[in-house]
Symmetry: D2
Subunit: 144 residues, 4 copies
């Protein structure tokens, strides 16, 4: 992966597990990892100078989730701090794929790995091309 | 309460506790009861001939939550069926108060009691008066 | 798929979209589909004569989620009824894979397709073999 | 309230609104404020030298929610930072009441005010008296 310059576009966000996120197994309920991925994605965008809220509000550009997947390796538990490492796996003007690794901040143990694929849409939720002004920040080369 | 004709406006909805709704105490996490109250409220409206979705979409009438409270009497547990009894406690053209009682469907044990107060608003979320066509269904008398 | 006798082990559960499940895009937030899959899975088990709650409580058999994925085809919206078709894709004594198709009950439109892979564990969350008494219900053949 | 020395036991925690916490009104769904209160409560305990996780795990002391209420004054929105000011309103060996004020960190606008009442229980969820070692930290005077 070191040959992929897009790996430079990565960021780590930290959250603390909420009691509300646990289930009666005593571990984090599995759908919450998708919410954590959203936190990681938003913070990665922020680190690239893109505030998702503004992109949606000012330019009518939405990121509709097309696919999501997660592999659960070790359960996260209440009150632990979790680092969500997020990066852009691939991107072009119609879609973007984010990769995620969630790690126990105290021990470094990998808790889960995930991926989400999104299509850019307008406010009508119909597929659209990403406006040129955002391309460079997402690492999308302009066509020659 | 038998003297209050608005008690005629009541309805019971049934849900089954989801695993996702439990926490590591092995019981339902307390914020979920507010979501169940929403289920009860929506079904009460439906039983009165009001589809909340249409009221919002077609007439721009929203029910903004102003207050919510819940007393937890006995914990609900995974996979149990819960009856949400919902009624209109009071209503006028600017606001409406719903009452709730959540009951274990198998044993009849009362799990929780709650109340939510809502103000009618327009799409701009500013307070508004309920359109006349909905008044009777909510049991709001027209001013003479 | 008609050649796969395990497709006989399928079931359809119906839910209604809750307001709490929507997000500011006006559609169901994507992590909720994983919760719906859990609803489908629990009801499939029930239809096979397995109450997941009892399996966990009485026999200490847990189904730990190892992988989950979902493809989102068409957004689900507030107050719609959704049919969750669930089936066993494959199973042996150490793990089981469920497949899901979520369909708009009114139009028949496919909203999403998903898959979850689980490992059987004991109460200590360590991998364990499924007790023999459950094998037939899950469609797992006994080794000769 | 300045006459109440228990106001010294207060703390402010900051969260950022997640997309998952919004609903189709474009604002935070109201049950999420109860989860934020839990975040505030846990951080207040931490600031008092009490890690709730350890109290539960090591001493079998649980804080069961008996009542919760919230008044919603101004809607919180996606990606805003919210300060959750939390304090102990009253406490004795059988129960504790927390107060909360949630504030838009950017503007200082009060978003919501809440209160939760908890009873101390053992692992069996039966009411119990708080062990002496925790009394001082919660500001509970020892009986003479």
């Amino acid at each position: 992966m070191t040959s992929n310059p897009q790996n430079l576009r990565q960021n780590t966000a930290r959250i603390r597990v909420r009691f509300a996120e646990t289930d009666q197994m005593g571990i984090v309920y599995h759908s919450n990892y998708l919410i954590w991925m959203e936190v990681g994605r938003v913070e990665l965008c922020r680190s690239l100078g893109i505030r998702y809220r503004d992109m949606e509000r000012d330019d009518g550009v939405l990121l509709a989730v097309a696919e999501a997947s997660c592999r659960y390796l070790s359960p996260a538990r209440y009150d632990e701090e979790v680092d969500i490492r997020t990066w852009i796996e691939s991107a072009h003007r119609r879609m973007i794929v984010f990769g995620y690794e969630m790690v126990d901040a105290a021990t470094g143990a990998v808790l889960a790995k995930g991926e989400t694929k999104h299509v850019f849409t307008g406010r009508d939720m119909k597929p659209a091309r990403l406006p040129e002004k955002y391309m460079e920040r997402f690492g999308i080369a302009k066509a020659v």
